[in-house]
Symmetry: C2
Subunit: 336 residues, 2 copies
């Protein structure tokens, strides 16, 4: 069985995108606009079947953990109410897909974060998504200012109310930034990768998992720059008298969204197979075909299959075994 733990709903129904336009226009006029969009089952079904599901089938992926478009979260837009309404609409759209295709998609929610607002405000939507919608569950944006990093690190107590609920529900979070409003940071080429690197380094310097030993975080995009600079991070931790990185690996996982064979080979050489989750981020950041291989850049299944460092048991863990461990609620949604 193959589970892709990182897919985004990048083929949203027009009605959802139209709601967002009307909502931000209303905000500019000082009004809130509660979730209000319609989309026919046929429209949703067609877009999924032509894109995500077609690719799943072509590549032999069974299930995708499916979350709203990451760049669309745009937590900097509007205020707390704007974010809450938009998030609810996006998560409802994900739920529609998961209801139409219950064997292929399991929901991962966006959180209604907003710059300067306590993440405690995200708890009701998290609970709704896990308990009512069956999500497994959430992305967490470490920079709700979307490119200016004006909030506190993810290790700050500011975030603790959210972590308490994640632990109570026994669900993990993927630390995934959204769009970048900062012209210095291309969103999928710099902000995404920098967000991953930044989050991991924050975890090195703090004792988050002493306070939350059961919290599980996934760092996407192959962990940003971290595996490539694994020696630097091991060395920095040692110089700072921090625990060895193997301690962090009790709580931290990396996905396989690395779009060439040498990158995946490095990832699997330095990070234990128990800490790697299969993912391809479709339909996502890179859509084209690699002229060097004739296959899509984001067809990460090939790279994992070709990785010489893995034996069959390790490969099976990466493709699905680890996912069942990191996302225990998957068991109720997916039959192995």
């Amino acid at each position: 069985m193959i589970i892709d733990c990182h897919g985004h709903y990048t083929t949203e129904p027009r009605g959802l995108l139209d709601y967002r336009k009307r909502q931000t226009a209303a905000f500019a006029e000082g009004r809130a606009l509660a979730p209000d969009f319609t989309a026919g089952d046929d429209e949703i079904r067609e877009a999924i079947e032509k894109n995500q599901l077609r690719i799943q089938r072509e590549r032999g992926v069974d299930v995708t953990l499916f979350s709203p478009r990451a760049g669309g979260m745009a937590h900097h837009v509007g205020d707390e109410t704007t974010s809450r309404d938009w998030t609810r609409a996006c998560n409802d759209a994900i739920h529609r897909v998961c209801t139409l295709f219950p064997r292929n998609f399991v929901g991962v929610c966006q959180l209604p974060q907003s710059p300067g607002v306590s993440p405690a405000s995200c708890v009701p939507e998290l609970v709704r998504c896990v308990e009512e919608l069956g999500f497994v569950p959430s992305n967490l944006n470490p920079d709700p200012s979307d490119g200016y990093w004006t909030g506190p690190p993810i290790t700050d107590r500011h975030w603790y109310p959210l972590y308490e609920k994640l632990v109570e529900l026994d669900v993990p979070a993927m630390v995934h930034v959204s769009t970048s409003c900062n012209p210095n940071f291309h969103h999928t080429g710099a902000h995404y990768i920098n967000g991953d690197t930044t989050a991991f380094m924050q975890l090195i310097t703090a004792d988050l998992f002493r306070d939350f030993p059961a919290l599980r975080l996934i760092i996407p995009h192959g962990g940003g720059a971290v595996p490539y600079h694994w020696g630097r991070y091991r060395g920095l931790a040692q110089d700072m008298k921090r625990p060895p990185l193997t301690e962090l690996l009790k709580n931290v996982y990396f996905d396989t969204c690395v779009y060439h064979q040498p990158g995946i080979d490095l990832l699997l050489k330095v990070i234990p197979a128990a800490n790697v989750l299969f993912a391809s981020e479709i339909v996502g950041a890179v859509k084209g075909i690699d002229p060097e291989t004739g296959h899509n850049f984001d067809d990460t299944k090939r790279y994992v299959e070709n990785a010489a460092a893995l034996d069959a048991e390790q490969r099976a863990r990466i493709f699905s075994g680890n996912a069942f461990r990191v996302y225990p609620r998957l068991k109720t949604r997916v039959t192995r």
Copy 2:
């Protein structure tokens, strides 16, 4: 011959650090304090001999391209005058070292950048360092706000007056951030690596080298996350109808400050040997010994020597041949 293109003066004389304290205190009182520090030759000689030169000798490195402590540039401190005075002092300190040890150190200058100030203001100090002090020449901080990225990308016309002078002098720049004031970014663990990744992605999205075909930029720390995500960057460039990355490699170089063998192996697998410059960033970011190898993390010469992907000719290019090409003024300072 082995040339390390990335070493920092992290063992500065007490007088220099004391000047900085007095200077920032004066600024707080609304006054500028012109460069004013003393340091005995013996003090400078002893710190260098016990640290950088000892390590050079132990590892068999002949020459280090030597620049002021990167974290110490701190361009956000004070104003344009503060930065100009501090930069002049730091570059003078580098010149002292290069004069005392002319066979071992060649100067690379800090620039007197300041947030919001045109980089044209850096031209006089650049010219002084190249023409009077014999530097080869400069670091360039892509984020003078030191962790908030409030200025324009390095591809913006804002930077062009500096690039014009770099080209005129036929000298390259290493794109190297300074300290981070942003609590989200650990300076050597996140800000450095993010700065590298960010700069490269800026170069992908713009036509800087169409305007400056002779400009040469070095991205340190093994190119940040770039080689690990080389497939992502190739794919993004293709999706955006940008030129293939091989075009950028006519002007962009990566150094070998990657502190473990698998990282260096990846770098040398995906980046042509002609675009890699030997460097170890001593005495720098990571000072300890890797318990897995028994050698210093930053002893990158071992990794380059052990890299199976290289033949002898490629290794020689990385160790020194490329440096003479990228830094043509080295020829007047160093005899092969």
